[in-house]
Structure formats: C-alpha cells, structure tokens
Symmetry: C2
Subunit: 292 residues, 2 copies
DNA sequence: ATAAAATGGTAAGATAGTCTTATCATCAGG
DNA sequence: CCTGATGATAAGACTATCTTACCATTTTAT
C-alpha cells in the first residue's frame, strides 16, 4: 500500500543536496558515486516521481524540494532515536530503582551510590528502603529493578545472589554487665529483658529460640529501639550491619553459640533481564561486595 | 558511529509485541516466522542489547520496553511522511500557482478552475493575472508554476506550448458605421480615431502597422478602454478573447486583411519539471484547450 | 502422564538488494 | 579543441533477506 522508505536512500538524497552533487556526497558518505545514483533512482521510482532534474546537475525538482525538508526531519528523528538508545546501552542515560533494607541502605548504599554516580554520571537512581518483606514485595511487583536484602523464603519468581554474611549479636548499653565481652553464648542472656525487633526472627529455629519467649517487647522502629536500649530497659539482638555503630553508649557482642547470621544478597526478578542501567548497578554491587 | 536503524525490523518488533508472538506477527506481516526471528536478532546485536527475553515467549526486556514506544513513534512519523508524499504524487494534496493574462483569466480560467477543482478536490490553486510581460516575469522568476499567456519574444529559459490562436479584430460601438460588418480590411480604418491598448503591438510588423501612427490615445486599463469606446470616442483593436462580449453596445469585427493573431499557450520554466499538482493542471489545460 | 500442538531458534539455499569498478555521454571552461 | 568536471549505465561481487525444513522446549489437552 504505502511505500516503505528506507533510511539510507533518504540520507543519500539529503547529502547530494547539501554537498551540491553526487560526487561530493559520495565522497562524504564513503560510497561510490554510482551507489548514490542507483539508490536515488530506485527511491524515485518507488515514489513514482523524480526528485532531481534529469537535465542540469543535481538540481531538485519542485517535488524534490517538497520532499527534502521532510526527509531531513525523518532523519533527524531517526538519529535522535538511535542516539537515545545507544546512550541507554552505553549506560550514559537511564535510571535504576533499587531497594534495600534499612541497615544496608544506611551502611552500604552511600558508598555504592557515590561510586555509581561517579562511574555513570548520566544515570539516575531511586533508593527505596523498608523491611525485608516490603523490599521483597517491591521486587516481585517489579517496582524496583534490584534490591539488597536478605531473603526469608525462597521464591521461584525471584533470584537471589548471596553477597555477604551478617552475624547477629547482642546489643546492650556499654555499662551492661555483658558489655566488653568478645562473644556470647545464648544461655548467658537468660534472665535478661530482651526487646525483639524486625530482625529477631533470625533466631527462630536456632538454639537461641527460647530467648524469644522471654521477650515482652517488640519494637520495629530503629529510633525507638535504640532509645529503649539507651535507657537501659533491656537488650536486643541485631545483625552487625543493623547495629548503630555511631551510638555513644551502645555496644555489640557477637553471638558465638549459636552463630546466627543473615545472608545479604542481591535480589531481582528471576527470568527477567535488567535494564542496562540496572545491570551496571548490579555489576558494581558484585564488584564491591562479593570480595568477602 | 551511531547505528542505522532500518524501518522494517522496527516494524517487526512492534508487530511481535502487538500480536503477542512471532508466529502471529509473521502471519500478519505475510512473512515467515524465521524472517522475524533473524531480523530481530540482527537488530538486537546491532543495538548490543536484547529486546526480548530469551526465556519466556516474546516478553520484552526492560530495554525492549524502553525501545518499543520509541520505535512506534518513528514508525508513525515514517508512515505519515510516506502518506504525505504519496498524496502529493497522486495529486490529492498540493498547490498550483498559475498566472494568466486578464483575458484568459476571465474567459478561460473559470471553467478550467472549476474542472480542476472537481477533478482534484485536495489541490489548492492561486491565480495571478497581469499583462503578458508581468506574467512572463512571474514564470521566469519561478513565482508561478505555469502561465496561460502569449509569448512576445522567445526565451531560452522558458518553454512555450501553443494552445490556440486568438484573432485580432476591431472593436467599436454598435452604432458605428462599420458595426455589423463580417470582416474588415485595415484600410477601411483609415481616418478612424484608434485607441491603442496593451495588445496593440500585435499590429506591429503587419500591414496594418500604419494604423498605430494615427492613434493619439493609449489606454492600458480595460475598464477605461471600454468606457472610451462606449462613449464613442474611437475604436480599438483587441484579440477576440479580450473583447468584452457581455458589453451591450460594443461589437467585434475580425480583421481579415491582414489577419492578425496572437498565440495563446502554456508558459513554464524550461528545464525544470513541474510539481505533481502543477502537472495535473497542465494536463487539464492541454486536454481542454488543445482541441483547436 | 503422555500425546499433540504451539512456542521460538537454527541451518541451508534461493532470491533480491546494494555495492564497486569500469566505462560512457554530456557539458563547461581554458 | 581539449581537458576535467558532471551524472548515468553495465557487469559482477558481495551482502542482506527471505523461505523451507528441521530442532528443542513449553504448553495444552486428552
């Protein structure tokens, strides 16, 4: 029905007009002159109307004069599209949505994002944080390209690449009787007032599980939790990364018996590939965090 | 440098997305399924990034999801251009600038324009009129595609196609002594007060040239001229077409000795082709006026 | 559970498109 | 008149694109 215009012959026509001749245009396009002659002739009979006068040298017909500006327009749009796509592929443009649990978001992401921004100045990043369940939701709903989190249950539709282990320990005030200990056995905590938090379920299914029974409080908010600890109301367990190192009066003692760890890794939708920008982020994450 | 995107593979990609599969798309495009597979694979490695997930059936990658709307956009623009150009070639759009001497403009053009408008409802027409010299100028300056006029001197840069002969005759009031005569010999006009007008130079170089000597008036404006004739101030010579047939008191007597004619024809720039719309007009003009 | 049908990918060969080299006809300027 | 431009043409090499035939995998239906 309507003729299919190929990009290249349009480029030839425009080049002939700009350079003022077939020879000059051919030189600029690194083609032979007959290549242009033939391609343009083919285009002309596809359109059913000549673009150049047969007499005179490469002067446009009125019809050609009508067409050339439109050809230019289409070429411009083509080139813009081509450039846009290439810049995506080359990671000079695009954006990444990434999610992380709060501990990772505050302890690991700042350095990662700084490195990423330096390596890919054109890429935009959005960082979402929330607890592990929320993060998992973001990933499985596709609202996020990637996540740094720990995975609770295996999900066929998500793929998880472990990156590091994060040991759980006891957190207490620095004047607590246990403060200063190198390691702790879970039994030494019996009788302590344990404040549970979002990460406490890491103890489930371990020898230390009975501790959860003796706990009267559950606090999900980190600020509230540290305030409680600061006030000496009790102790809690936290993975190392989640421990607020900068807090003046709190200390962290790793649990040695049993050793409890969470596994931090990169979570992404399985059987779906990443955008080039997200791929760049994933590569950076592996490069920085997989050394352990 | 930047990759050349061919239109067709983009169309394939969009069709696969729209039809939800390679087979369905191939069916719609009247191609075999491997044709799409290969073309799209080629496009993907030209871009350096897959558009479709290799697993799963024809699901887009995030990169593909980025590209497809832009592909659609370019295809839309391509198709619009293609349609525009075809409608020009097929004379469903465009415009013609045409010039004519006043006699032609008023006597021939109305019917021509009506026929043209009926045959090509999409084409716009501008009609310019003026004396033969002005019309020639419009054509040679390219301000007009075509002209219906008579040509005084040959010009290498203009091409003139004769269409009809327009006999010169004497115009006088219907109570004039010569009124009612079938033909006239120039000598019968001796002693008459001759009013010259823009067409009087047709007599130059003919036997009747001496008449020009006995003429005291020159009037270029047709309205003024007819008013003078109407007032019985004198007689004039005019080509038949320029004679105001509708005037109640004027009559036209052809000159038979000598026969003097002007040649009306189609004037256009030589060695320049016409726009499709102008070509359509030229064709109509030949069809309607070349019968004589 | 197994057979049937549909998915897309791959290979080989035919066809069509596009390029290059070599050559030609025409025209402008010295 | 000749030289050096112009663009057009012809023949052949090369490349792109399509089709047929086939494969592996997944989905659907029995």
């Amino acid at each position: 029905m309507l003729p299919e215009l190929k990009i290249q012959p349009l480029r030839y026509v425009v080049a002939v007009v700009d350079e003022g001749g077939f020879h000059a245009a051919a030189r600029r396009l690194h083609r032979s002159q007959p290549a242009l002659s033939m391609a343009i002739k083919e285009l002309e009979q596809r359109l059913g109307e000549p673009l150049f006068e047969k007499a005179g040298k490469s002067r446009l017909t009125p019809f050609g004069a009508y067409c050339v500006p439109r050809f230019r327009e289409l070429l411009t749009q083509h080139d813009r599209l081509s450039r846009d796509i290439v810049s995506r592929v080359e990671r000079r443009a695009g954006h990444v949505d990434i999610a992380a649990v709060p501990s990772v978001a505050s302890r690991l992401m700042p350095a990662l994002l700084a490195d990423f921004a330096a390596a890919h100045p054109g890429l935009h990043i959005s960082l979402h944080d929330g607890n592990a369940d929320f993060v998992r939701e973001l990933v499985s709903r596709g609202e996020v390209d990637l996540a740094l989190t720990s995975l609770w249950q295996h999900d066929e539709r998500l793929s998880f690449a472990p990156l590091m282990h994060d040991a759980v320990g006891v957190v207490c005030r620095d004047d607590h009787r246990l403060a200063g200990r190198e390691t702790l056995n879970w039994q030494e905590l019996q009788g302590e007032r344990l404040i549970r938090n979002g990460t406490s379920r890491l103890l489930e299914g371990t020898e230390a599980a009975p501790l959860l029974e003796q706990s009267a409080f559950f606090i999900s908010n980190m600020i509230s939790l540290t305030a409680m600890l600061d006030a000496g109301i009790g102790v809690t367990t936290l993975p190392r990364l989640a421990f607020p190192e900068e807090h003046r009066h709190l200390c962290f003692i790793p649990l040695s018996e049993p050793r409890v760890e969470r596994e931090i890794g990169l979570l992404q939708p399985a059987r779906r590939s990443l955008s080039p920008a997200a791929q760049a982020m994933a590569e950076l994450i592996f490069e920085r965090l997989l050394k352990s």
